[in-house]
């Protein structure tokens, strides 16, 4: 598509140069940074400069003569468990050797430079991905297909030319130069794409509604919902951090389809890195005429405004989000009228989630059929899941819909950490539920998962093991929704509070069997009596926990036991005199002086004084402290 390039304004003072001979690309997603990738990046820059063989350049900014190398940051590379992840590419054009290292430290960076980059021999024992060597991490990548995440972790999100080189803005060009709005809508409809924010509403149909309404003054809005509030889901964060232009491009295509000229990108304030990269990317896209007036010489104009959320989970609900953009308290309102008819400032408005929009350019370029060929029954294409919790390979995994939960957790995720026993997988965050082992062979598909009482939702997949208490997990989600309830509907505002009181009572060992029935009854009432999705789904974690793990609730109320040892009130700590070596480590760590005993003699915990904080249990190196 040489034509596209000629229509894009050239970069001011950024000469195009051939790519460097050695490229080091380091994950600078939130997870990577948390693992220390900035320090690793610095170590590579300093190490390569010190080696003296290469001139260290910034591609497209610096002139390069002779041998040169570059060190760049990318978005999330997926396998967060092994962060910091570092990809080393050696060679030019035709022959390119690519290797990805995991758990890289600054000291390892030095060695990678010496042995691999200078010496030519990859250090096989540190590899997680390589064209030439087996690493043991192949199953993580084998089941994945990256459509949404096609650029995330590969390109430098702060350099628009990296995106342009990787087919960026070509879908927008195709749409503007050869497709009518109706054709765009038809393409998306045929692809079977459904909203990835959680509800799974068909995207093409949503666009068709928004396109069908006329605005009194011609103004329509196109909103991208980046208020990823589900705790445990971070795919939108990673897409915004790693490939912000794909989201702009998806927004522009959607806006063209529905006839909008103003867009809002609503991102939560808790994602400072994403916000920073969006600002950089937006400036570059405007500079190059890819957002703004008469995009690529067409008569289509589209402006995007960035709105920073102010911290309210309920703003993920579309009508609440619009209230928030209008500067109000983010409280949902009754639908109809739907936003397509009367949304932001009473104009026809369309809202889509980040992941949904990021895949739109791929569909336009590769065709609806290619997308629809992947997936399962009514759930087409791929979905990004955030694998976290007690699974070995935590990270982001994009798999075709219809893969079974077991395949995602055990093949892609590598199974349970520390060889513990699987207890449940939590799907869909505070609106979803916990599913037991017996349901792991179900395919991940909107309809199938809905039947279990959980939801696919935004794709959070938190694995919990035998050390986690199911009652505590249910309580955790309810305390979340209770604190995030906007307060508009009494069943949600008061009902979630009363449900939480009951769960607290059960965790404290004061519950009764009739409380369990009352909890279920109240859950149904909250579901039925709430206006928006928050209240209507808030009881799901409790209902699924009661449905699949009732015996654990019964243990809490009848036997006054918490088998996982999580509910403090139901736990006692004792010291095994056979195992205790009398090292006094627990005596020193106990905050209330509850442990006594002479050096080299078995210690004793005074139960009257013990506050059950578990510090001794964590500290003991001889497994002498028992929790029961």
């Amino acid at each position: 598509m040489a034509e596209v390039r000629s229509l894009i304004r050239p970069a001011p003072q950024r000469p195009r140069l051939s790519s460097p001979e050695v490229e080091v690309r380091i994950c600078l997603g939130t997870g990577g940074v948390a693992a220390g990738s900035r320090e690793v990046l610095k170590a590579f820059e300093e190490g390569l400069a010190k080696a003296g063989v290469f001139a260290l350049i910034r591609p497209r900014e610096d002139e390069c003569s002779g041998r040169c190398a570059s060190v760049t940051g990318t978005g999330c590379k997926g396998l967060c468990a092994m962060d910091p992840l570092v990809e080393v590419r050696i060679g030019r054009n035709g022959k390119l050797q690519k290797c990805t290292y995991g758990l890289v430290t600054p000291a390892m960076a030095e060695e990678i430079i010496q042995r691999h980059i200078l010496g030519g021999e990859p250090i096989t024992e540190w590899l997680v991905l390589s064209d030439e060597h087996t690493t043991g991490y192949e199953p993580f990548y084998a089941g994945q297909e990256k459509l949404v995440l096609r650029h995330v972790g590969i390109i430098d999100p702060e350099d628009i030319d990296d995106y342009l080189e990787a087919d960026g803005y070509q879908a927008l060009y195709k749409v503007l130069s050869s497709m009518s709005p109706a054709e765009v809508i038809d393409e998306i409809k045929r692809s079977g794409l459904r909203g990835r924010g959680g509800a799974g509403f068909p995207t093409g149909q949503k666009w068709e509604f928004a396109a069908s309404y006329r605005s009194p003054d011609g103004v329509k809005y196109f909103i991208c919902n980046g208020d990823e509030g589900d705790p445990g889901a971070f795919m939108d964060c990673s897409v915004l951090e790693g490939d912000p232009h794909a989201v702009f491009e998806g927004m522009a295509i959607g806006a063209y389809a529905i006839g909008a000229t103003t867009g809002y990108l609503y991102v939560r304030a808790e994602y400072p890195l994403a916000l920073r990269r969006i600002r950089i990317a937006m400036q570059q896209a405007e500079e190059r005429g890819l957002i703004g007036d008469n995009i690529m010489g067409s008569d289509f104009s589209f402006h995007i405004k960035l709105k920073e959320g102010a911290g309210a989970f309920v703003c993920g609900e579309e009508t609440a989000l619009m209230q928030s953009i209008e500067g109000q308290r983010g409280m949902p309102r009754l639908r109809p009228p739907f936003p397509a008819e009367s949304g932001l400032w009473k104009r026809p408005t369309n809202i889509n989630n980040v992941e949904t929009l990021a895949v739109v350019p791929w569909i336009i370029l590769n065709g609806a059929e290619a997308f629809a060929a992947r997936g399962y029954e009514k759930s087409k294409g791929t979905k990004v899941f955030a694998l976290a919790g007690k699974v070995k390979r935590t990270g982001l995994a994009e798999v075709p819909m219809g893969m079974t939960l077991r395949e995602v957790i055990y093949d892609v995720g590598g199974g349970i950490k520390n060889d513990k026993k699987f207890k449940a997988v939590q799907l869909g965050g505070p609106s979803g539920g916990c599913l037991p082992e017996s349901l792991l062979d179900l395919p991940v598909d909107y309809e199938t998962i809905n039947q279990t009482g959980a939801i696919v939702g935004s794709g959070g997949m938190i694995v919990i093991d035998e050390d986690n208490c199911i009652v505590d997990t249910a309580r955790y989600f309810l305390s979340f929704t209770q604190s995030e309830s906007c307060g508009k509907c009494p069943p949600c505002r008061i009902g979630t509070k009363r449900m939480l009181d009951l769960l607290n009572k059960i965790c404290e060992g004061k519950g009764t069997l009739s409380d369990l029935d009352f909890l279920e009854e109240m859950a149904q009432q909250v579901k039925a009596g709430s206006l928006c999705g928050l209240g209507a789904t808030a009881p799901n974690p409790v209902l699924t926990a009661l449905k699949y793990f009732r015996e654990e609730f019964v243990e809490h109320v009848v036997d006054k036991k918490c088998r996982a040892g999580v509910c403090t009130a139901l736990v006692t700590y004792t010291i095994d005199p056979e195992k205790c070596t009398g090292c006094r480590a627990c005596v020193r760590v106990c905050p209330v002086g509850a442990i006594s005993g002479e050096r080299k003699e078995a210690h004793v915990i005074n139960r009257e004084v013990c506050i059950k904080c578990g510090a001794c249990y964590e500290k003991c190196r001889f497994d002498a402290v028992r929790r029961s």
Binding site: T30, G31, V33, A34, A35, R38, C80, A81, D83, E228, G229, D230, P231, G232, A233, F234, C237, S238, A269, E270, Y271, P272, L273, A274, K307, E308, G309, A310, G311, A312, F313, S324, I325, E326, G327, Q328, R329, G330, W345, A386, L387, A388, G389, K390, T394, G395, G429, G460, I462, I464, N468, T473, Y476, F477, F480, E484, C486, P591, G614, E618
Partner: protein
Amino acid sequence: MTSETLVDRSHEAELEERFNELLERYRGEPGALIPLLQGAQAIFGYLPPEVMRRVADAAGEPLSQALGVATFYAQFRLRPHAKHTIRCCHGTACHVSGAARISEELEKYLGIKPGENTPDMLLTIEEVHCVGACGMAPVVMIDDRAYGKLTPEKAVAVVEAFISQVEQSEAEKGGVGEASKEAEE
């Protein structure tokens, strides 16, 4: 007049100037209340009553509306706030990986509860729901930097290192601003 008050005055004047610019930038723009509150908080660190009044005025809203919005969203603070913020992530992945123990240990170490400031106004501690680094759970953020795969002990060590870094740069450069910039980078 001592030199210290002179410095304070010029600092105040600078804040006032920035605040005025902010008010003018958004005056009359629909939906400006939230960006105005965010901007004002970025300038003053929190939202004192006088600032609230002037923001409401610029947004063309009654004070009650501005207060309603400010108290609805978790981001806004109506009381002074320490220079640096420790955010203990209590997202699902962090919760099941022991976030509660980390919060507990940090609160004990700093001697404050969530939402409180240390007496020297250097640090405050918050519990937040998910910072988007679930693969690294449990996670703590100090200002804009995340630290992952923590244990209660490691978390304390991270905070200790942060405090000594701030103190060191304060001693060297005569201000804490540099350290926080470094931490953000």
